[in-house]
Amino acid sequence: MIRIENLSKKYYNHHGSEWVLKDINLTIPTNVSVGLVGKNGAGKSTLLRLIAGIDTADKGQIFRDCRVSWPIGLKNVFQASMTGRQNVQFVARIHGDNEKIKEIINYVEEFAEIGKAFDDPVKTYSSGMKSRLAFGLSLAFDFDVYLSDEATAVGDASFKKKASAVFKERVNQASLIMVSHSEGILRDLCQAGIWLNEGEAIWFDDINDALKAYSEYHK
Protein backbone atom coordinates (compact mmCIF):
# COMPACT_ATOMS: atom_id res chain seq x y z
CA MET A 1 0.00 0.00 0.00
CA ILE A 2 1.22 3.48 -0.79
CA ARG A 3 -0.27 6.37 1.17
CA ILE A 4 0.15 9.95 0.06
CA GLU A 5 -0.64 12.66 2.59
CA ASN A 6 -1.06 16.38 1.90
CA LEU A 7 1.52 16.23 -0.84
CA SER A 8 2.51 19.49 -2.52
CA LYS A 9 5.28 20.15 -4.99
CA LYS A 10 6.32 23.28 -6.77
CA TYR A 11 8.96 24.04 -9.32
CA TYR A 12 10.94 27.23 -9.31
CA ASN A 13 11.66 28.95 -12.58
CA HIS A 14 12.72 32.38 -13.68
CA HIS A 15 9.20 33.75 -13.57
CA GLY A 16 8.34 32.73 -10.05
CA SER A 17 7.15 29.38 -8.85
CA GLU A 18 4.11 27.31 -9.63
CA TRP A 19 2.46 24.52 -7.72
CA VAL A 20 2.53 21.40 -9.85
CA LEU A 21 0.80 19.29 -7.24
CA LYS A 22 -1.38 20.87 -4.57
CA ASP A 23 -2.35 19.11 -1.37
CA ILE A 24 -2.81 15.63 -2.74
CA ASN A 25 -4.24 12.85 -0.59
CA LEU A 26 -4.36 9.35 -2.03
CA THR A 27 -4.18 5.76 -0.95
CA ILE A 28 -3.07 3.32 -3.58
CA PRO A 29 -3.94 -0.21 -2.46
CA THR A 30 -1.69 -3.15 -3.19
CA ASN A 31 -2.73 -5.34 -6.11
CA VAL A 32 -4.45 -2.53 -7.94
CA SER A 33 -2.73 -1.20 -11.02
CA VAL A 34 -3.21 2.48 -11.57
CA GLY A 35 -2.84 4.66 -14.63
CA LEU A 36 -1.96 8.33 -14.31
CA VAL A 37 -3.67 10.52 -16.88
CA GLY A 38 -3.46 14.25 -17.54
CA LYS A 39 -2.12 16.62 -20.10
CA ASN A 40 1.57 17.39 -20.57
CA GLY A 41 2.97 19.27 -17.60
CA ALA A 42 0.14 18.21 -15.28
CA GLY A 43 2.64 16.55 -12.94
CA LYS A 44 2.31 12.88 -13.84
CA SER A 45 6.03 12.23 -14.04
CA THR A 46 6.60 14.40 -10.98
CA LEU A 47 4.17 12.34 -8.95
CA LEU A 48 5.82 9.16 -10.16
CA ARG A 49 9.27 10.45 -9.20
CA LEU A 50 7.96 11.41 -5.78
CA ILE A 51 6.51 7.92 -5.28
CA ALA A 52 9.83 6.47 -6.43
CA GLY A 53 11.60 8.55 -3.79
CA ILE A 54 14.04 10.22 -6.16
CA ASP A 55 12.54 13.67 -5.62
CA THR A 56 11.21 15.36 -2.49
CA ALA A 57 7.95 17.17 -1.95
CA ASP A 58 7.73 20.71 -0.60
CA LYS A 59 5.00 19.62 1.80
CA GLY A 60 3.46 16.35 2.85
CA GLN A 61 4.67 12.78 2.95
CA ILE A 62 4.55 9.48 1.15
CA PHE A 63 4.47 6.19 3.03
CA ARG A 64 5.48 2.99 1.24
CA ASP A 65 5.35 -0.36 2.95
CA CYS A 66 6.25 -2.46 -0.03
CA ARG A 67 9.11 -2.81 -2.47
CA VAL A 68 8.78 -0.14 -5.12
CA SER A 69 10.83 -0.13 -8.32
CA TRP A 70 12.65 2.82 -9.83
CA PRO A 71 10.72 4.50 -12.64
CA ILE A 72 11.11 2.17 -15.58
CA GLY A 73 11.58 3.99 -18.86
CA LEU A 74 13.70 6.69 -17.27
CA LYS A 75 16.75 7.60 -19.32
CA ASN A 76 20.23 7.33 -17.83
CA VAL A 77 19.90 4.55 -15.30
CA PHE A 78 23.34 3.22 -16.23
CA GLN A 79 26.84 4.39 -15.53
CA ALA A 80 28.29 4.84 -19.01
CA SER A 81 31.86 3.80 -18.20
CA MET A 82 30.90 0.45 -16.70
CA THR A 83 29.91 -2.59 -18.71
CA GLY A 84 26.35 -3.86 -18.89
CA ARG A 85 27.27 -6.72 -16.59
CA GLN A 86 28.86 -4.41 -14.01
CA ASN A 87 25.84 -2.14 -14.06
CA VAL A 88 23.46 -5.04 -13.49
CA GLN A 89 25.70 -6.32 -10.71
CA PHE A 90 25.70 -2.90 -9.07
CA VAL A 91 21.91 -2.60 -9.12
CA ALA A 92 21.53 -6.14 -7.77
CA ARG A 93 23.86 -5.24 -4.91
CA ILE A 94 22.04 -2.09 -3.86
CA HIS A 95 18.84 -4.08 -3.74
CA GLY A 96 20.51 -6.43 -1.29
CA ASP A 97 19.97 -9.60 -3.27
CA ASN A 98 23.50 -10.84 -2.65
CA GLU A 99 22.70 -14.51 -2.85
CA LYS A 100 20.77 -14.01 -6.08
CA ILE A 101 23.24 -11.81 -7.95
CA LYS A 102 24.30 -14.56 -10.37
CA GLU A 103 20.70 -15.42 -11.08
CA ILE A 104 19.83 -11.79 -11.74
CA ILE A 105 22.80 -11.27 -14.06
CA ASN A 106 22.01 -14.41 -16.02
CA TYR A 107 18.38 -13.42 -16.30
CA VAL A 108 19.20 -9.97 -17.65
CA GLU A 109 21.88 -11.28 -20.01
CA GLU A 110 19.45 -13.78 -21.45
CA PHE A 111 16.53 -11.40 -21.59
CA ALA A 112 18.32 -8.45 -23.18
CA GLU A 113 19.78 -10.58 -25.99
CA ILE A 114 22.61 -8.16 -26.71
CA GLY A 115 25.23 -10.89 -26.94
CA LYS A 116 28.87 -10.01 -26.34
CA ALA A 117 28.04 -6.33 -25.89
CA PHE A 118 26.92 -7.24 -22.37
CA ASP A 119 30.60 -7.01 -21.42
CA ASP A 120 31.25 -3.72 -23.20
CA PRO A 121 30.91 -0.29 -21.55
CA VAL A 122 27.37 1.05 -21.74
CA LYS A 123 28.59 4.17 -23.56
CA THR A 124 29.18 2.03 -26.63
CA TYR A 125 25.55 0.88 -26.71
CA SER A 126 22.91 2.04 -29.15
CA SER A 127 19.74 3.45 -27.62
CA GLY A 128 17.90 0.26 -28.51
CA MET A 129 20.46 -1.87 -26.67
CA LYS A 130 20.24 0.41 -23.65
CA SER A 131 16.48 0.07 -23.49
CA ARG A 132 16.72 -3.69 -23.81
CA LEU A 133 19.13 -3.80 -20.91
CA ALA A 134 17.05 -1.40 -18.83
CA PHE A 135 13.88 -3.38 -19.45
CA GLY A 136 15.52 -6.66 -18.61
CA LEU A 137 17.00 -5.19 -15.45
CA SER A 138 13.69 -3.94 -14.15
CA LEU A 139 12.09 -7.34 -14.68
CA ALA A 140 14.86 -9.17 -12.85
CA PHE A 141 13.66 -8.05 -9.43
CA ASP A 142 10.50 -9.02 -7.60
CA PHE A 143 8.99 -5.68 -6.82
CA ASP A 144 5.56 -5.33 -5.27
CA VAL A 145 4.88 -2.18 -7.23
CA TYR A 146 6.36 -1.28 -10.60
CA LEU A 147 6.55 2.33 -11.64
CA SER A 148 6.51 2.95 -15.34
CA ASP A 149 7.05 6.26 -17.07
CA GLU A 150 6.11 5.74 -20.71
CA ALA A 151 7.97 2.48 -20.63
CA THR A 152 6.72 0.58 -23.58
CA ALA A 153 8.39 -2.41 -25.07
CA VAL A 154 11.12 -1.29 -27.42
CA GLY A 155 13.24 -2.88 -30.06
CA ASP A 156 12.38 -5.09 -32.97
CA ALA A 157 9.11 -6.95 -33.34
CA SER A 158 10.18 -10.20 -31.70
CA PHE A 159 11.71 -8.48 -28.67
CA LYS A 160 8.60 -6.32 -28.30
CA LYS A 161 6.40 -9.36 -28.26
CA LYS A 162 8.49 -11.17 -25.68
CA ALA A 163 8.89 -8.10 -23.48
CA SER A 164 5.22 -7.20 -23.33
CA ALA A 165 4.28 -10.82 -22.63
CA VAL A 166 6.69 -11.00 -19.66
CA PHE A 167 5.63 -7.58 -18.47
CA LYS A 168 1.93 -8.50 -18.51
CA GLU A 169 2.60 -11.69 -16.63
CA ARG A 170 4.58 -9.77 -14.03
CA VAL A 171 1.79 -7.23 -13.58
CA ASN A 172 -0.54 -10.09 -12.73
CA GLN A 173 1.50 -10.80 -9.59
CA ALA A 174 2.62 -7.30 -8.70
CA SER A 175 0.91 -4.00 -9.31
CA LEU A 176 1.78 -1.14 -11.53
CA ILE A 177 1.62 2.63 -11.42
CA MET A 178 2.05 3.94 -14.91
CA VAL A 179 2.19 7.12 -16.90
CA SER A 180 1.22 6.75 -20.50
CA HIS A 181 -0.42 8.72 -23.25
CA SER A 182 -1.61 5.58 -24.95
CA GLU A 183 -5.18 4.82 -23.86
CA GLY A 184 -4.91 1.30 -25.20
CA ILE A 185 -2.01 0.40 -22.92
CA LEU A 186 -3.66 2.01 -19.90
CA ARG A 187 -6.94 0.12 -20.48
CA ASP A 188 -4.99 -3.05 -21.05
CA LEU A 189 -2.83 -2.99 -17.90
CA CYS A 190 -4.60 -0.83 -15.31
CA GLN A 191 -7.79 -1.17 -13.33
CA ALA A 192 -7.97 2.18 -11.54
CA GLY A 193 -6.99 5.64 -12.68
CA ILE A 194 -5.81 8.95 -11.30
CA TRP A 195 -6.56 12.10 -13.22
CA LEU A 196 -4.16 14.95 -12.54
CA ASN A 197 -5.63 18.33 -13.36
CA GLU A 198 -4.41 21.77 -12.28
CA GLY A 199 -2.57 20.44 -9.28
CA GLU A 200 -5.37 18.21 -8.06
CA ALA A 201 -5.54 14.44 -8.19
CA ILE A 202 -8.86 12.69 -8.66
CA TRP A 203 -9.13 8.96 -8.05
CA PHE A 204 -11.30 6.73 -10.24
CA ASP A 205 -11.98 3.11 -9.42
CA ASP A 206 -12.23 2.39 -13.13
CA ILE A 207 -9.57 3.53 -15.57
CA ASN A 208 -12.23 4.02 -18.24
CA ASP A 209 -13.96 6.65 -16.11
CA ALA A 210 -10.68 8.48 -15.61
CA LEU A 211 -9.97 8.51 -19.32
CA LYS A 212 -13.52 9.66 -20.04
CA ALA A 213 -13.36 12.50 -17.52
CA TYR A 214 -10.01 13.57 -18.91
CA SER A 215 -11.07 13.58 -22.53
CA GLU A 216 -14.40 15.30 -21.82
CA TYR A 217 -12.67 18.05 -19.89
CA HIS A 218 -10.36 18.81 -22.77
CA LYS A 219 -12.98 18.61 -25.50
Partner: protein, 261 residues
Amino acid sequence: MKVRTSWQVTKSVWYALFMREVLVRLWTDRAGGFWMFAEPILFIIVMVGIRTAVQTVEIIAGADMIPWLVIGLVGFFMFRDGLLRGMGAIDSAKALFSYRQVKPIDTVFVRILVEGVVRTLVLIFLLVGLSLLSLSAFPDDVLGFFFSWFSIWMLGLGLGLFFSVLASLVSEVAKLVRVMMLPLLIISGAIVPLQFLPHSVQEILIYNPIMHSIELARLSFFKGYWSFPGISYLYLYAWIFGSMALGLMLHIRFEMKIKSL
Protein backbone atom coordinates in the same frame (compact mmCIF):
# COMPACT_ATOMS: atom_id res chain seq x y z
CA MET B 1 8.18 -9.28 0.38
CA LYS B 2 10.07 -8.02 3.39
CA VAL B 3 11.01 -4.35 3.61
CA ARG B 4 14.64 -3.72 4.55
CA THR B 5 15.66 -1.41 7.37
CA SER B 6 17.51 1.82 6.57
CA TRP B 7 20.77 0.40 7.87
CA GLN B 8 20.47 -2.73 5.73
CA VAL B 9 19.85 -0.58 2.67
CA THR B 10 22.83 1.64 3.50
CA LYS B 11 25.09 -1.37 3.95
CA SER B 12 24.10 -2.80 0.56
CA VAL B 13 24.65 0.57 -1.10
CA TRP B 14 28.08 1.02 0.47
CA TYR B 15 29.07 -2.49 -0.56
CA ALA B 16 27.87 -1.94 -4.14
CA LEU B 17 29.58 1.44 -4.42
CA PHE B 18 32.78 0.09 -2.89
CA MET B 19 33.00 -2.75 -5.40
CA ARG B 20 32.23 -0.38 -8.26
CA GLU B 21 34.91 2.03 -7.12
CA VAL B 22 37.57 -0.64 -6.74
CA LEU B 23 36.68 -2.08 -10.14
CA VAL B 24 36.95 1.29 -11.83
CA ARG B 25 40.23 2.12 -10.07
CA LEU B 26 41.88 -1.17 -10.88
CA TRP B 27 40.66 -2.02 -14.36
CA THR B 28 39.01 0.90 -16.08
CA ASP B 29 41.84 3.36 -15.51
CA ARG B 30 44.74 2.22 -17.62
CA ALA B 31 47.20 0.30 -15.41
CA GLY B 32 45.37 1.80 -12.42
CA GLY B 33 46.75 -0.71 -9.97
CA PHE B 34 50.32 -0.08 -11.10
CA TRP B 35 50.15 3.71 -10.80
CA MET B 36 48.56 3.53 -7.39
CA PHE B 37 51.90 2.25 -6.09
CA ALA B 38 54.24 3.74 -8.65
CA GLU B 39 53.18 7.36 -8.16
CA PRO B 40 54.26 7.81 -4.52
CA ILE B 41 57.38 5.69 -5.04
CA LEU B 42 58.51 7.78 -8.01
CA PHE B 43 57.74 10.94 -6.09
CA ILE B 44 59.86 9.76 -3.18
CA ILE B 45 62.75 8.75 -5.42
CA VAL B 46 62.70 12.21 -7.03
CA MET B 47 62.50 13.97 -3.67
CA VAL B 48 65.29 11.90 -2.13
CA GLY B 49 67.36 12.54 -5.25
CA ILE B 50 66.92 16.30 -4.94
CA ARG B 51 67.63 16.27 -1.23
CA THR B 52 70.77 14.19 -1.76
CA ALA B 53 71.96 16.50 -4.51
CA VAL B 54 71.69 19.56 -2.26
CA GLN B 55 73.00 17.54 0.70
CA THR B 56 70.32 18.17 3.27
CA VAL B 57 69.56 14.52 3.96
CA GLU B 58 70.61 14.26 7.56
CA ILE B 59 69.13 17.36 9.14
CA ILE B 60 65.79 16.07 10.46
CA ALA B 61 66.23 15.78 14.19
CA GLY B 62 65.24 12.42 15.57
CA ALA B 63 63.95 10.87 12.36
CA ASP B 64 65.30 9.06 9.33
CA MET B 65 64.85 11.07 6.23
CA ILE B 66 63.26 8.44 3.98
CA PRO B 67 60.53 7.06 6.30
CA TRP B 68 59.91 10.66 7.37
CA LEU B 69 59.26 11.55 3.74
CA VAL B 70 57.18 8.43 3.12
CA ILE B 71 54.80 9.23 5.96
CA GLY B 72 54.48 12.85 4.91
CA LEU B 73 53.90 12.14 1.25
CA VAL B 74 51.60 9.14 1.45
CA GLY B 75 49.68 10.78 4.29
CA PHE B 76 49.27 13.99 2.36
CA PHE B 77 48.24 12.10 -0.79
CA MET B 78 45.64 10.21 1.22
CA PHE B 79 44.24 13.49 2.48
CA ARG B 80 44.45 15.25 -0.89
CA ASP B 81 43.00 12.47 -3.04
CA GLY B 82 40.31 11.74 -0.48
CA LEU B 83 39.23 15.35 -0.63
CA LEU B 84 39.56 15.79 -4.40
CA ARG B 85 38.06 12.45 -5.38
CA GLY B 86 35.29 12.87 -2.82
CA MET B 87 34.53 16.23 -4.39
CA GLY B 88 34.11 14.62 -7.81
CA ALA B 89 32.13 11.64 -6.52
CA ILE B 90 28.68 13.18 -6.83
CA ASP B 91 29.19 14.25 -10.42
CA SER B 92 30.44 10.87 -11.56
CA ALA B 93 27.54 9.03 -9.90
CA LYS B 94 24.73 11.09 -11.48
CA ALA B 95 23.19 8.11 -13.24
CA LEU B 96 23.01 6.12 -10.03
CA PHE B 97 20.68 8.56 -8.33
CA SER B 98 17.78 7.07 -10.31
CA TYR B 99 17.85 4.44 -7.61
CA ARG B 100 16.46 6.08 -4.49
CA GLN B 101 18.68 3.90 -2.28
CA VAL B 102 21.79 5.76 -3.44
CA LYS B 103 22.33 9.12 -1.78
CA PRO B 104 25.02 11.64 -2.67
CA ILE B 105 26.67 11.23 0.71
CA ASP B 106 27.12 7.49 0.11
CA THR B 107 29.13 8.12 -3.04
CA VAL B 108 31.37 10.66 -1.28
CA PHE B 109 31.92 8.50 1.78
CA VAL B 110 32.72 5.34 -0.15
CA ARG B 111 35.18 7.10 -2.45
CA ILE B 112 37.10 8.52 0.48
CA LEU B 113 37.00 5.12 2.16
CA VAL B 114 38.52 3.48 -0.93
CA GLU B 115 41.18 6.18 -1.04
CA GLY B 116 42.05 5.49 2.60
CA VAL B 117 42.30 1.74 2.03
CA VAL B 118 44.46 2.18 -1.07
CA ARG B 119 46.85 4.65 0.55
CA THR B 120 47.18 2.55 3.69
CA LEU B 121 48.15 -0.44 1.54
CA VAL B 122 50.67 1.75 -0.29
CA LEU B 123 52.15 2.85 3.04
CA ILE B 124 52.47 -0.71 4.33
CA PHE B 125 53.99 -1.79 1.01
CA LEU B 126 56.56 1.02 1.18
CA LEU B 127 57.43 0.44 4.84
CA VAL B 128 57.94 -3.27 4.22
CA GLY B 129 60.09 -2.37 1.21
CA LEU B 130 62.21 -0.03 3.34
CA SER B 131 62.63 -2.69 6.01
CA LEU B 132 63.93 -5.07 3.36
CA LEU B 133 66.50 -2.42 2.48
CA SER B 134 67.42 -2.58 6.17
CA LEU B 135 66.26 0.91 6.95
CA SER B 136 64.42 1.35 10.23
CA ALA B 137 60.80 1.51 9.11
CA PHE B 138 58.66 0.26 11.95
CA PRO B 139 56.61 2.68 14.06
CA ASP B 140 57.87 3.11 17.63
CA ASP B 141 54.31 3.48 18.86
CA VAL B 142 52.22 1.21 16.62
CA LEU B 143 48.80 1.94 18.09
CA GLY B 144 49.48 5.64 18.32
CA PHE B 145 50.66 5.66 14.73
CA PHE B 146 47.56 3.94 13.43
CA PHE B 147 45.37 6.35 15.34
CA SER B 148 47.16 9.37 13.91
CA TRP B 149 47.08 7.81 10.43
CA PHE B 150 43.33 7.35 10.88
CA SER B 151 43.10 11.00 11.93
CA ILE B 152 44.66 12.15 8.65
CA TRP B 153 41.99 10.13 6.85
CA MET B 154 39.24 11.59 9.06
CA LEU B 155 40.37 15.11 8.19
CA GLY B 156 40.09 14.26 4.49
CA LEU B 157 36.65 12.78 5.12
CA GLY B 158 35.37 15.83 7.01
CA LEU B 159 36.60 18.32 4.45
CA GLY B 160 35.55 16.00 1.61
CA LEU B 161 31.97 15.88 2.89
CA PHE B 162 31.94 19.64 3.24
CA PHE B 163 33.48 20.53 -0.12
CA SER B 164 31.58 17.88 -2.07
CA VAL B 165 28.34 19.80 -1.49
CA LEU B 166 29.87 23.23 -2.05
CA ALA B 167 31.58 22.10 -5.26
CA SER B 168 28.33 20.67 -6.62
CA LEU B 169 26.47 23.89 -5.92
CA VAL B 170 29.23 26.26 -7.04
CA SER B 171 31.59 24.64 -9.52
CA GLU B 172 34.31 27.29 -9.03
CA VAL B 173 34.92 25.92 -5.54
CA ALA B 174 36.37 22.70 -7.00
CA LYS B 175 38.88 24.66 -9.07
CA LEU B 176 39.91 26.74 -6.08
CA VAL B 177 40.43 23.70 -3.86
CA ARG B 178 42.49 22.02 -6.60
CA VAL B 179 44.73 25.09 -6.93
CA MET B 180 45.23 25.20 -3.15
CA MET B 181 46.67 21.68 -3.05
CA LEU B 182 50.19 22.46 -4.24
CA PRO B 183 50.86 25.24 -1.70
CA LEU B 184 49.26 23.04 0.96
CA LEU B 185 51.67 20.22 0.10
CA ILE B 186 54.54 22.55 0.97
CA ILE B 187 53.15 24.39 3.99
CA SER B 188 51.92 21.13 5.54
CA GLY B 189 55.49 19.94 5.92
CA ALA B 190 54.94 16.87 3.77
CA ILE B 191 58.18 17.16 1.81
CA VAL B 192 60.30 19.82 3.53
CA PRO B 193 60.73 20.18 7.28
CA LEU B 194 59.23 23.41 8.61
CA GLN B 195 61.01 23.22 11.96
CA PHE B 196 63.75 25.54 10.73
CA LEU B 197 61.53 28.37 9.66
CA PRO B 198 61.51 31.53 11.78
CA HIS B 199 59.19 31.52 14.74
CA SER B 200 57.02 34.29 13.27
CA VAL B 201 56.24 32.12 10.22
CA GLN B 202 55.61 29.04 12.33
CA GLU B 203 53.03 30.96 14.32
CA ILE B 204 50.97 31.30 11.15
CA LEU B 205 51.60 27.78 9.80
CA ILE B 206 50.40 26.25 13.05
CA TYR B 207 46.79 27.07 12.03
CA ASN B 208 47.00 24.48 9.25
CA PRO B 209 45.28 21.29 10.49
CA ILE B 210 46.89 19.12 7.80
CA MET B 211 50.30 19.90 9.28
CA HIS B 212 49.03 18.88 12.71
CA SER B 213 47.84 15.52 11.40
CA ILE B 214 51.07 14.74 9.52
CA GLU B 215 53.33 15.82 12.39
CA LEU B 216 51.26 13.77 14.85
CA ALA B 217 51.82 10.71 12.68
CA ARG B 218 55.57 11.34 12.63
CA LEU B 219 55.66 11.95 16.38
CA SER B 220 54.23 8.52 17.06
CA PHE B 221 56.41 6.89 14.42
CA PHE B 222 59.77 8.26 15.68
CA LYS B 223 60.21 8.25 19.44
CA GLY B 224 62.85 10.98 19.49
CA TYR B 225 61.29 13.17 16.85
CA TRP B 226 61.45 16.87 17.43
CA SER B 227 58.40 18.67 16.05
CA PHE B 228 56.73 22.04 16.54
CA PRO B 229 55.51 23.27 19.86
CA GLY B 230 51.70 23.44 19.77
CA ILE B 231 50.96 20.34 17.68
CA SER B 232 47.83 18.85 19.23
CA TYR B 233 45.09 16.30 18.70
CA LEU B 234 42.62 18.71 20.25
CA TYR B 235 43.09 21.28 17.52
CA LEU B 236 43.04 18.60 14.80
CA TYR B 237 39.84 17.02 16.06
CA ALA B 238 38.15 20.40 16.38
CA TRP B 239 38.68 20.69 12.62
CA ILE B 240 37.63 17.11 11.94
CA PHE B 241 34.39 17.26 13.90
CA GLY B 242 33.66 20.82 12.82
CA SER B 243 34.01 20.07 9.11
CA MET B 244 32.17 16.80 9.46
CA ALA B 245 29.19 18.39 11.21
CA LEU B 246 29.04 21.15 8.61
CA GLY B 247 29.41 18.64 5.80
CA LEU B 248 26.64 16.42 7.11
CA MET B 249 24.36 19.42 7.55
CA LEU B 250 24.99 20.55 3.98
CA HIS B 251 24.32 17.04 2.72
CA ILE B 252 20.98 16.90 4.51
CA ARG B 253 19.96 20.36 3.40
CA PHE B 254 20.94 20.08 -0.26
CA GLU B 255 20.54 16.36 -0.96
CA MET B 256 17.72 16.70 -3.45
CA LYS B 257 19.16 19.77 -5.10
CA ILE B 258 22.46 17.99 -5.71
CA LYS B 259 20.73 14.92 -7.10
CA SER B 260 18.76 16.86 -9.66
CA LEU B 261 21.57 19.18 -10.79
